[in-house]
Amino acid sequence: MLNRRGLIAGTAGLALAGPALIRPVFAQGSGPIRIACAGPMTGSNAAAGEQMKIGAQQVVADMNAKGGVLGRQLALEIADDACDPRQAVSVANQLAGRKVAMVAGHYCSGSSIPASKVYAEEGVLQISPASTNPKFTDDGSWNTFRVCGRDDQQGQIAGAYIAKTYRGKKVAILHDNQAYGKGLADETKKALNAAGVQETLFAAYTPGERDYNALVSRLKGAGIEVIYVGGYYTEAGLILRQAKEQGMNVTLIGGDALVTKDFWQITGAAGEGALMTFSSDPRQRSTAAAVVQTFKAKNIDPEGYVLYTYAAVQIWAAAATKINSVDPKKVAEAMKASGPWQTVLGDIAFDRKGDVTVPDYVFYVWKNGDYVQM
């Protein structure tokens, strides 16, 4: 039998030696260029995190197959923030410590915004495929970009649509009190009120719970016919499912966070007819055809944010190639100054804030377990 003291000493020795063994070798100017994809790989938004991961892995593989960027291979790091702002900051510090040139991420606005401050200080370029809260680029400094739209644009479209289509019906606006959800709900309310429609109820719910029956009964009591949810798919799905279960006849409208098949898995048949705003389907665009084919061959459906993440890395690579440098500040300048950049999403150009110049939000509707453009 192993001597206990020896065992303890051995374990302690291993524990101490561990970090030394796995310490990364830093290389500047040669060797692979590190880039990162950061998002919720775990937690209730893991479906979106996985989309980002798939997109990032594919773009890195495709670029490396073509000889990399500036003659150097790309090395991809995947980081998990679980959509938790605190974890996002610690992940951002880790990635900065590992000297990544750019981060494609994060997903939740509540994570992207605090992380962007760390990246700005540490000299990391950040392109979010999904964070739509206006504050992300409004407060952002030199390093913040996004390839998606903004909630004020998304909210305007949703608010105007509700005012037009459901005039005279009772509307409730709900949100989860987080950066993305509340921002979206506020913008939608603004647009709705501007169109002369007053919502019947504006309320917040606690994300992460499973029982929204009390809230649903309240909506039922107020005779609500249209629910707008500023929030993520798990909670929106549960609210819709419980509303239908309580015998309500409502239409649920949400934002781009509902664009995942997991939403339908939660709602089941109750999801029929639910609406959401999202960019016109990138999978249908001619620029994406080749990449979509690659994914189809692997039996992956490049839904949601897969192609957005792909495009984020493409733009960074194109800008770096153009100025022949991966220096994040110079690349950021070039991304704003030059362009439009050719991506799988089509041509993308940025304004001075780092927002895309031509956002295109359209409505999707859930039908038979799939979503189709309206």
Binding site: M41, T42, G43, S44, A46, A47, N177, A203, A204, Y205, T206, G208, E209, R210, D211, N213, A214, L215, S217, R218, K220, G221, G223, T234, G237, L238, R241, E245, Q246, G247, D262, Q265, I266, G268
Partner: protein
Amino acid sequence: MAYALQQLINGISLGMIYGLIAVGYTMVYGIIGMINFAHGDVFMIGAFLSLIGLVLLSMGGVMGGPAALILVLLVSVALTGLYGWAIERIAYRPLRGSFRLAPLISAIGLSIVLQNFVQVSQGARVKPMETLVRGGIEVMREDGFVVQLAYTQMLIIGVTLAVLAVFTVLVTRTPLGRAMRACEQDRKMASLLGIDTDKTISLTFVIGAALAAVAGTMYLLRYGVIDFYIGFLAGVKAFTAAVLGGIGSLPGAVLGGLLIGLIETFWSAYFSVQYKDVAAFSILVLTLIFLPTGLLGRQEVEKV
């Protein structure tokens, strides 16, 4: 009126689930005077085992008849009971003679172990399940407001009452129940009188875990969405329920669960939805200021 009735139904069915979990906290506290912080995660394990059972059955071509549901419930109860037994044997019994904080810390550690185990083995994604028990009955109708009582709500209320009735008989009428009560009053004296205290404590954990498995299965059927983290929130609420009702008291746990469920629901119904937890916990604090042992707790010689 109809609105209040609907909210009452919502509150009772939510409170029953809290109550079922709370019984596990209160039993363990009663018998060995420690808070089993891993109990919320045992509830989560129970829910996962039921989900796995249902998936296996549907792969075998059996889709959710009552017999299938009962089978899944029994299997989940048995396996979760086994978890309860193993937890006590591995994490608590070796520390029983140790200082008071030791089992508390191993309980927190175990809670993390269980969560991570499920996260790694089952994946971190939210697991949705198709609604197996659909529909409900219309209780009443008033000014266009229809009060719905879902079959799952009836199931929860019925099963909880039945389980608690069986359990009350077990504690008050059987030799095992007598041994449990004896251990609760004075463990050393009980062992001097020939009661196998280790066995009694083990069985207490098994029963607590079994009740948590029933709660987990009901939760799965009612909400249809679970993940590795559900045990935390449910555990905190159930623990609060146990304290509110008077920790150590079985009827207190159920009463506490119902009260927490009702306070949350009615606060969301008439005041602000986002402050419901603040309301529930404020009432807990107020209760404890005036009734330090909870609603149905007795004055107790100090234990932690």
